[in-house]
Amino acid sequence: MRTVLDPTGERRPATRELLPRPDALRGRTVGLLDISKARGDVVLDRLEELLRADGVRVLRYRKPTFARPAPVDLRHEIAEHCEVVIEALAD
């Protein structure tokens, strides 16, 4: 873990802000990330059906294991190809 000192006036939180949510999903590319827990595919399959019916382009991704963070290459690929990502687990 590397630590740096905040060079700012510390008026903003140190965490990065999320991008604003899009107003609508039609015509956008949504990534569905299965974290590899059992039956996650059930909820994601249904989500894909609903999204496609709304005119959304859907790409599917899967983490190798739910026990670890997504590999950097996978995160990079999702960031490159998708405008929105839905990460889902189901137990």
Partner: protein
């Protein structure tokens, strides 16, 4: 941590005196911590936390502890002192009477910054942990802390090292920085100076520049917010400039000198990060100028026809002067060998500052090079004489300045009663001396809106 009562010692296996006194320490039943070998004695201080907290400078150090508090201390080996501390007699019978110790690892220059960062209580800035998968350089860009060029990551160790460049308290407030009007401490300046690439010895100059740029009359908020080109230009005077390796000579307004480049950049990073003045947000410059990355040089005081700029402005010795500069315009005159002719060339070029038809609207800084300076020096012209001559040459006929004159809409509104108007307000033209030995050129650094409605140059002492 709570120290055990009795005798406590800190040793290092690499120290011959420590190995010499090993049997004595064991015989005394002291609680011994070792700095470089966790298995030598019971106590492991390879992390050096205990050594740091106890302020150990020499090994061996033996402490007497009563009720958890230190009541006595000896360093190195001295039979007499050890017997005095422990109350035992006849210690180390085969040993010499006296043997000096070795340096403690906790004061080793390569370790002390890390220890101070970890165990000291000196730094107040929020600590930001970077994730393992983050590239540390990209992480700093991502957080919006840079000017677009790479910065040195401001680790606590580096910031502590930077703070050794000044005797000032890290918590002392240097200035209130626009536009967010944030009280900026010496420590925050140091954080940004690290990022800019400064060495610790530059820090006093950076602190003075921040102080000067945040003075009310410099109007930093407006300077930042303006659509105009300008940003702070820092001119350094006094022995400090040479001592820290600043450039006042060849290419001094250009690239390549670390002190010039990073001192000016540190000021800009303070404005950006502490003050919140970011381009495209409060900074609304239409075009800007490359000097908004950094603009800083030292005045060439040797062989100058002029007294040092800061001294002429009432601050002799080490000082900075900040000026709201908008970029460098060349003045070429390779033929004038008398000051009258040279002054006319300088005046002709100064007249177009911002616009040839706008008088008293924009300040300027004239940077006279050594070859032009020689012409003035040999004729005995000092700064006041040159300014007086330029003032006479820069009286502009009002008829040439009114709107529409010369087929240009820009100009003064009708109704100007005076026949002539000065190009510069009183005090609106600064004159400095800098540059390489060769070249019959000088430079005009155009200024910004001047005087009470704009920015007034500010000079401040550089303090240690």
């Amino acid at each position: 941590m709570q120290l055990p009562d009795g005798l406590v010692a800190v040793v290092k296996r690499d120290c011959p005196t420590c190995t010499l006194v090993e049997p004595v320490l064991r015989g005394l039943g002291a609680a011994v911590w070792c700095q470089d070998d966790p298995d030598w004695f019971d106590g492991d201080d390879t992390g050096l936390e205990l050594s740091y907290r106890l302020g150990i400078e020499t090994v061996p150090t033996v402490l007497r502890v009563e009720g958890g508090r230190e009541t006595g201390r000896v360093v190195g080996w001295s039979r007499e002192q050890w017997e005095g501390l422990t109350g035992a007699a006849g210690l180390g019978p085969g040993l010499p009477d006296h043997r000096p110790g070795c340096g403690s690892l906790s004061v080793d220059p390569s370790r002390v910054d890390e220890l101070e960062a970890r165990y000291g209580d000196g730094l107040a800035s929020r600590r930001v942990a970077l994730a393992d998968l983050e590239d540390e350089h990209e992480a700093l860009f991502d957080r919006g802390w840079t000017d677009g060029l790479p910065v040195v990551p401001p680790t606590p160790e580096r910031v502590l090292r930077m703070l050794r460049g000044t005797t000032r308290d890290p918590r002392e407030v240097v200035a209130v920085v626009p536009p967010d009007l944030v009280a900026c401490t010496v420590e925050k300046v140091a954080v940004n100076a690290v990022m800019a690439g400064c060495l610790p010895e530059y820090l006093p100059v950076v602190l003075a520049a921040v102080e000067a740029a945040c003075a009310e009359e410099f109007a930093l908020h407006g300077l930042l917010a303006t659509t105009y080109f300008s940003g702070p230009v820092v001119v350094v005077n006094g022995p400090v400039a040479r001592r820290v390796g600043m450039n006042s000579g060849v290419n001094c307004l250009g690239q390549g000198n670390r002190a010039n480049a990073t001192i000016g950049r540190a000021l800009q990073l303070v404005v950006r990060n502490v003050g919140g003045g970011r381009p495209g947000e409060v900074d609304r410059a239409t075009l800007g100028n490359p000097g908004k990355y950094t603009s800083c040089f030292a005045e060439r005081e040797e062989d100058s026809p002029f007294a040092p700029l800061a001294a002429d402005r009432g601050v002799p010795g080490d000082a900075v002067t900040v000026f709201a500069g908008a970029g460098v315009q060349p003045v070429v005159d390779q033929l004038s060998r008398d000051p009258e002719s040279l002054a006319r060339s300088l005046a002709a070029c100064l007249r177009v500052n911002a616009h040839p038809k706008l008088p008293m609207a924009f300040d300027a800084m004239l940077v006279v090079s050594p070859e032009h300076g020689r012409v003035l020096r040999e004729a005995g012209w000092d700064r006041a004489r040159l300014l007086a001559e330029l003032d006479g040459l820069l009286r502009l006929p009002a008829g040439e300045l009114v709107r529409g004159a010369g087929g240009m809409a820009e100009g003064l509104p009708p109704g100007v009663e005076a026949e002539q108007l000065p190009k510069f307000r009183p005090g609106g033209l600064l004159v400095t001396h800098a540059g390489g030995d060769a070249g019959l050129f000088s430079a005009i650094i155009g200024g910004w809106v001047s005087g009470e409605t704009g920015s007034v140059p500010v000079t401040r002492e550089v303090r240690g």
